[in-house]
Symmetry: D2
Subunit: 273 residues, 4 copies
Amino acid sequence: MAYSGEPILAEDLLFRPAHSLIDQSLHSRLGATTTNGDGFGVGWYGEGAEPAVFKSTEPAWNDRNLREVAGQVRTPMLLAHVRASTGTPVQRSNCHPFRHGRWLWMHNGAIRGFHETRRELLMAVDPALFADIEGSTDSEALFFLALTFGLADDPFGAVARAVGFVEDVGRAHGVGDPVQMTVATTDGDSLWIFRYSSERQSRSLFFSTEIATLRALHPEVEILHALGGEARFVVSEPLRDLEGAWNEVPESSAGVVRPGKDEIRPFEPIRPA
Amino acid sequence: MAYSGEPILAEDLLFRPAHSLIDQSLHSRLGATTTNGDGFGVGWYGEGAEPAVFKSTEPAWNDRNLREVAGQVRTPMLLAHVRASTGTPVQRSNCHPFRHGRWLWMHNGAIRGFHETRRELLMAVDPALFADIEGSTDSEALFFLALTFGLADDPFGAVARAVGFVEDVGRAHGVGDPVQMTVATTDGDSLWIFRYSSERQSRSLFFSTEIATLRALHPEVEILHALGGEARFVVSEPLRDLEGAWNEVPESSAGVVRPGKDEIRPFEPIRPA
Amino acid sequence: MAYSGEPILAEDLLFRPAHSLIDQSLHSRLGATTTNGDGFGVGWYGEGAEPAVFKSTEPAWNDRNLREVAGQVRTPMLLAHVRASTGTPVQRSNCHPFRHGRWLWMHNGAIRGFHETRRELLMAVDPALFADIEGSTDSEALFFLALTFGLADDPFGAVARAVGFVEDVGRAHGVGDPVQMTVATTDGDSLWIFRYSSERQSRSLFFSTEIATLRALHPEVEILHALGGEARFVVSEPLRDLEGAWNEVPESSAGVVRPGKDEIRPFEPIRPA
Amino acid sequence: MAYSGEPILAEDLLFRPAHSLIDQSLHSRLGATTTNGDGFGVGWYGEGAEPAVFKSTEPAWNDRNLREVAGQVRTPMLLAHVRASTGTPVQRSNCHPFRHGRWLWMHNGAIRGFHETRRELLMAVDPALFADIEGSTDSEALFFLALTFGLADDPFGAVARAVGFVEDVGRAHGVGDPVQMTVATTDGDSLWIFRYSSERQSRSLFFSTEIATLRALHPEVEILHALGGEARFVVSEPLRDLEGAWNEVPESSAGVVRPGKDEIRPFEPIRPA
C-alpha cells in the first residue's frame, strides 16, 4: 500500500481500518488473516534527508513497536508492504521497502529463475552500488538494476531497461516469462507505479479516485473528510467496498502520482542494445 | 496436534505433509496459510526427566531453527500448537504447550471475561505453584488450576474441578458461558484430551483411527506403513482426506490415549462445594 | 537514562555519543560493551495523550528499527533503559519503561525474594489496575503498587508507601533487605527520581548540572550549545568525563525535575499502618 | 568453540560451565558478560546426512529454545560461535556456523576492505555454488571461496588458496593486510583449524591437551572423568584456569583433529598463479 498526499498519522493508515479507506483488507493484509506474512515493512519521510524504514519479520499485527511508532509518525508519503517470500530467507534485510538515498522501493511478484540468474543480474549492478545490497531477494536486485539504469533521473526509462535486461537474462537461461511485477517506488515527492509481467497477465494494482470526487459520491463516509484533497492510495487489491473509489491500473502500464497532475502511460521493457 | 505412539522424527510429523497423515492442513496450520498465527510451540520427550519445549512468536513455517531441530528429534509423544491470541501479549511465555514438571498442556479456546476474572482465578492457584506461572494467558491459568486441583493424580477429575471453578467465578462476574475449550495434556506416557464448552457448542476435536485398521482400509497409503501400530493423533480439524481416518470426539467428552486400551467418557464440570 | 528539557531528537540522545553528553557510556549501555543486556526500552511523549514505548529483547545496538525511529522522534521527555534480568523471562512485556496512562516507570535494582513474595505483592495491587499488569517482573509490580498507593496524586508519598509495603512483606518472608532501587518515573511533564535500598547502600544515580553552568565551565564543548537551558539528564553512572557535569543523588533521596525549580529531598519508606 | 570426541550432550558443553572444561569463559562468551554479541550459532551432527544448525540474533544466554534443545542433543562434533559483526547486518543468515552439504564453517576475524572487494570475491565463487550464499558476511564469502578451491578434497590447500586469493584482491584495492582469521571447519568426522593473518599477528587459538594426560595431571577435576578419551576442544581463549589444559596453536598454523592422530603444520597462503 502506498499513500501520497497531505501529512497523515501512520496509525490512521495502518491500524484504523474501521475509519479509513484502507479498511478490513489492509487489516487482513497486515496479519489478521494474512496468508503467510513473511515479514512487513513501512517506509516514510519525516526528519532528515532520507526516509525512515521500519521492517520486521514479526507478523505486522503483533508488532507492538510498530503500533507505538505508527501513532507518532506523520508523513506525506508512506509505503507499507507485507512480504510473501519466493524462497529467499525471511530476514529484515529481505523485507520491503528497500531504501537507497531518498528512494524507497517495493515489489510484489517475482523474478522467475532467480536462483539461477541471480549471479548474472547482480554482476550487472553498478559496482559503486553493489556494496549497498543488503539482502538476497529478487526484488532488491531489481531495485538496484533500476538504480543502475538511472532511476534517479528517469524512473520510467530506468525500470523499463531493468525489466528488459532481466527478461533477456532469464530467457537466456530458459525461463519463458521471467518477470511478474507490480512496483511502487518514490523519492519522497512523487510516487511511480508499475504493473507488468512478461506473460502480460499481471498481478492487480489499483489507485484511488480523487478525494474531491469521492466526497461528492459518498458524503456520508467520515474518513473522506479527514483526508486532504491530494490524498492518493495505490493498493494491490481494491480494499474497501466503496463504489467508484478504486481504479485498476491497466495491464502493462506505469504511472506517477505527484502534486498536481498525475499520469498513467503504457509500459514496455527496453531490451539491452 | 498431538501424537502418541512409537518414537517418530518430529520433522516427519510437522514438515512432511505430503508423506504424513498430517498433510496439508497441518502445513497450513503451521503457517503456509495460517490465519493469524500468534506464536507456536512444540513439546516432546527425550533426554532427561522433563519434556523439552520449543516455542516462538515467529510464524512456525519461517522458523529455520524449528526445522533444524525437528530433523534431530525422535519422540514417542509430541504436542504441537499454533496460537490464536485472545488478547494477551504475543510472547514466548504465552505460547503453548505450557510445562510443569513432566506435564505439558495446550488449550484451544478461551476463558471469557478473563480480563475481569483473572485476579480471582490466579488467587485460587496453589501458592506453591503460583510463582511458576510465567505468562499471562487464560490457558496457562486453566493449566495451573488443573494442577492445583490434582492433575497429577486424577486428570479427569482435576480438569472437571478446574472448569467448574472457572465457570463459577465467571458467572459471578456476569459471564454467561465462561469456558470454551479443547485441551490436550500429557505426562509423557498417557495423553488426556478434553472437549467442552459452557454453551455445549465446543470447538472441534478429532482422534485418528487405529493404524492397523487404516492400513487395511488404505493399503496404498505409504505413511501408514511407516507409522507404528500404537500411533495415535489428536487434532483440531480432520486433516487429510482419508476416509475412516478421523473420528470426532463427542461434545462434552474427555479421553485418554495410552499404550493398550484408550478410553473416551462423558465430561461434566464439578462445581466447587 | 532520563532526559527532560526542550524537545530533542531521540537519535541525538541515544546514538550520537561523540556529540552528546551521553557519550561512550551510553553507547556501551545500549550494547557495544553491554554486560548481558536482557532487553531495552525507550519511552517518549509526542502525538496523542499517552507516551509511546518502543521495547525489545534484541540488543539495542543491533535494533535497526530503533535507530530508524530515533531519527524521527522529537520529545521533551525521554526514558531509556537497558534491562538486566533478575530471573524473570526476557520478553517485551518485561522490558522497561512500563506504562500506565500518561505514566512511565523504570527501575534498576531488585525486590529480593520476589519469587516467594510475588503473590502477596500482586494481591495488594488495586483490583481495578491488576488486569493491566502485562509482565512478571518485580519492577512492574513495584510500579503497580506505587499506582495503587496514589502515584498520580502524590508521587513521593506513593513510592514511599509502596516501598514500605514491599519491605514489610519481604521481612515477613525472612528477607532482611528486600528493596534495592533507583527509579525514574514521569507523567510527561515532571520527572521523579528515587535512590534507596533497605540496606542503605544503593546503586548509583546522578543528575546533570544546569546547562547554563556547564556552558560557562566548558565553552568548548559543542553539544552544550545544542542543548536547551532546561535540559536535565538523570543517569546510573556518571557518563562523560566532563568536570562538574554530574552530581550524585544522595543515598536515600528522592527528587523531581520540572520546568523551573527542581528539588531533592530525603526519602524514607512509609510502613503500612 | 569446537568439540570433537565421544558423543556428548550439547547442554553439558554450553550451559554447565561449573562442571565442564568450558567453564566461566564460555558462559560469558555466550552472553553473561558478552561484549556485543551479534548473534550466535551452534552446529552439530545427529540424524540425517547433514549437520543441523541452530542460529539466532538473540543473545545466546537468553535463548530459551537453545537451552531446551541443548538438553536433547547428543553429538560427537559441535561448533559454537558468538558473532561480533564487522559491519554487515545482524541476521540469522549472517550467523556462524555456515553450512554446505556436510561441512560447517566458522571464522573469527575479518576480511579488511570487504565492502570494496566483496563484488570481486563473490565473482570468484564457483557459479554452481554462488546461489547457495545466503548472507552478506566476509566469513561466508571466505567459506565459499574455500569450497570453490576444493575444501571437500584438500582442506589445507583449499583454505591456503582462498586466503591467497583474498590477499591478492585486497592488496590490489590498497588494503595492506587483508586477512585476519581463526577458522574451524568440519565435515563431521574431522575438524580442521587455522590461525593466520596477513600481518602475522593473529587472534588467539588454543586446543586442549589429551584427556588422559589431563586426568593424570588433575585427578580431582570431575568433568575430566565424564569426558571420553577422544575429547578435544578448540577455543579462542584459554578458558578454565587448569594448568596444562590449553596449548596455543602457533602463529600461521593449521591443524586437524580426528580419531587417532591429530596434526599441526605451518600455514602459508597460496597465491593465485
